[in-house]
Subunit: 376 residues, 2 copies
Amino acid sequence: MTVGQLDSSIVKITNSANKSEPLPNDKLNFGKTFTDHMLTVEWTAEFGWAVPEIKPYGKLEIDPSCCVLHYAFELFEGLKAYRTSDDKITIFRPDMNMKRMNKSAARIALPTFDSEELISLIGKLIEQDKHLVPEGQGYSLYIRPTMIGTTDGLGVAVPDKAMIFVILSPVGPYYKTGFKAVRLEATDYATRAWPGGCGDKKLGANYAPCVVPQLQAANRGYQQNLWLFGEEKYITEVGTMNVFFVFKNTETGKKELVTAPLDGTILEGVTRDSVLTLARARLSPEEWDVNERYFSILEVEERAAKGELVEAFGSGTAAVVSPIKEIGWRGKDIQVPLLPGEQFGELTKRVSEWIADIQYGREEFKDWVRVVADVK
Amino acid sequence: MTVGQLDSSIVKITNSANKSEPLPNDKLNFGKTFTDHMLTVEWTAEFGWAVPEIKPYGKLEIDPSCCVLHYAFELFEGLKAYRTSDDKITIFRPDMNMKRMNKSAARIALPTFDSEELISLIGKLIEQDKHLVPEGQGYSLYIRPTMIGTTDGLGVAVPDKAMIFVILSPVGPYYKTGFKAVRLEATDYATRAWPGGCGDKKLGANYAPCVVPQLQAANRGYQQNLWLFGEEKYITEVGTMNVFFVFKNTETGKKELVTAPLDGTILEGVTRDSVLTLARARLSPEEWDVNERYFSILEVEERAAKGELVEAFGSGTAAVVSPIKEIGWRGKDIQVPLLPGEQFGELTKRVSEWIADIQYGREEFKDWVRVVADVK
């Protein structure tokens, strides 16, 4: 018998008995409330992907010996659906998330799947709950595809059972009052990821170990860690965001937008890729270099002292871009310039607008935007 | 109000409707069948540890947004209960496991607890299912204490809810036909742990990322990876075991038992500690050095070539000691000597007997053995 491929055309839909009313926009907290339905698809090594099910949101029954609870056979993605000004529901670059999800799955011996089929299933799930996609700039529907190993038993081995589930959470802007620049603590006493590890994959395993250092940074007044690597103190990423710096060479006047290279220790962010792609297309090459290269907190410190640090921001699905105002390093704060009286630098603002215009359909950008539902 | 401490005296016991018959010893597979009862204790940041419950073994209901499924807030322990020749049930060095479990919990911001209270609760759980502890050398009851974060919602944050659960699995000897020496593949293309990481804690996060390299090694005929670290190619551990080597200096005739030091990248194995403690107490210091020091696969290769490699074994709760016969390294196999016609070296056998004699009560060793039930 043929092992089953993931197939969106055979989805079984069970409607929820209650149809929720949308919460007012000001009551939306990130990832705290969910829509009425969820998607689940089970997989076994023997039969492959089973019939996908869209059904009422509800608890999963998990055996206490299940491998997801002991050995972290788990991975996830995060993407967003937007309600455009002409009342369509679109999702942003889902092919990038699906590609990364497949790479994450392969890294921990979980099954891969046809990306387009899962995108189609996510579309059908959203169609079911489309009245709960919030309206307005900064509001969206956060989509959380997840895959877990579901083999019961305590041997550490390749799972022979797994499950994809997708849940949806209506969310507001990450910072309720527009941009709010963050303070990061450059962290070298703990290490997020390393060569030969799995820091470039969206595995559960990369997250829990970062929470204590985050708490320690928070106790010193910093929102997040800026993870450094190695004796060189290379800047890697923020754990929930990639990170970009803008330098200006005082001799030549040329500016550089720089982020760490994808060397296996850094998450391959979809927003990171979007920022790089747009910056390369839209910034004048006479004025700008756009680089993926190694750079260290020591370079940032030195160039800040020389007046060459122009601005810095994080990039990720949740906040899209997140301006940075200070970086704690060896007991001092490196000041990152902001525009006078504002919470952001000039490029941070421009990049944010470039992406939002595409996401909310004010600018057509077909390759990056998929229409999944119509709420007219 | 006072936040609740873990308290074994208030445990609530609900008996299972069916009382299982023990499986015949030859049907026991590691971690595949479980006893009739399980222990669960819930924790909240607000109220602390709730009333512990011993109840019928059964599925957990977990919300699809729960942090254990997304961010690997999970850790576990492994220890064993033995049926002694005078029909007592004992557990081996549980204080060591509880100490490590508390350290694992603190590393990922999960709650700590009073070790003695959890040992007492495990004793009560075993009392409930004591007829399922198998008899005979090599047979035991594997105990799996687990802690998971149970906060629902997708923000990456310190969990404000958690749960301990303990399940029990009757198990046979790791190798059914006595010792069977294993082949390991020295692995430097993937990295299990890193300074500033969490490789010394028993977190779920350390396990899933090691399964693909294990599969690759298995495809080349090796049972496990021997994880190397750094340019020096230091030998660290086997992922499910610590590892010991015996060298003999051909000039002085002195032997050395050596294992990697606890530098934060190596699990603090209870069997490792037991081997070191017994070896230091029982091996003649004129003939033996017992060292925790850095040593590399290059040293092993060189000393094997000089005829100075005497034997090697892994140590862990599952197999206790596991002899090693070959180590794949750069396309060749380093041969590890075994006694003629046997699957083990001389010290491997002695160490195994030392520990088994204590575990099965043939030798009194009060500090390491706790009686938890009486089956007479």
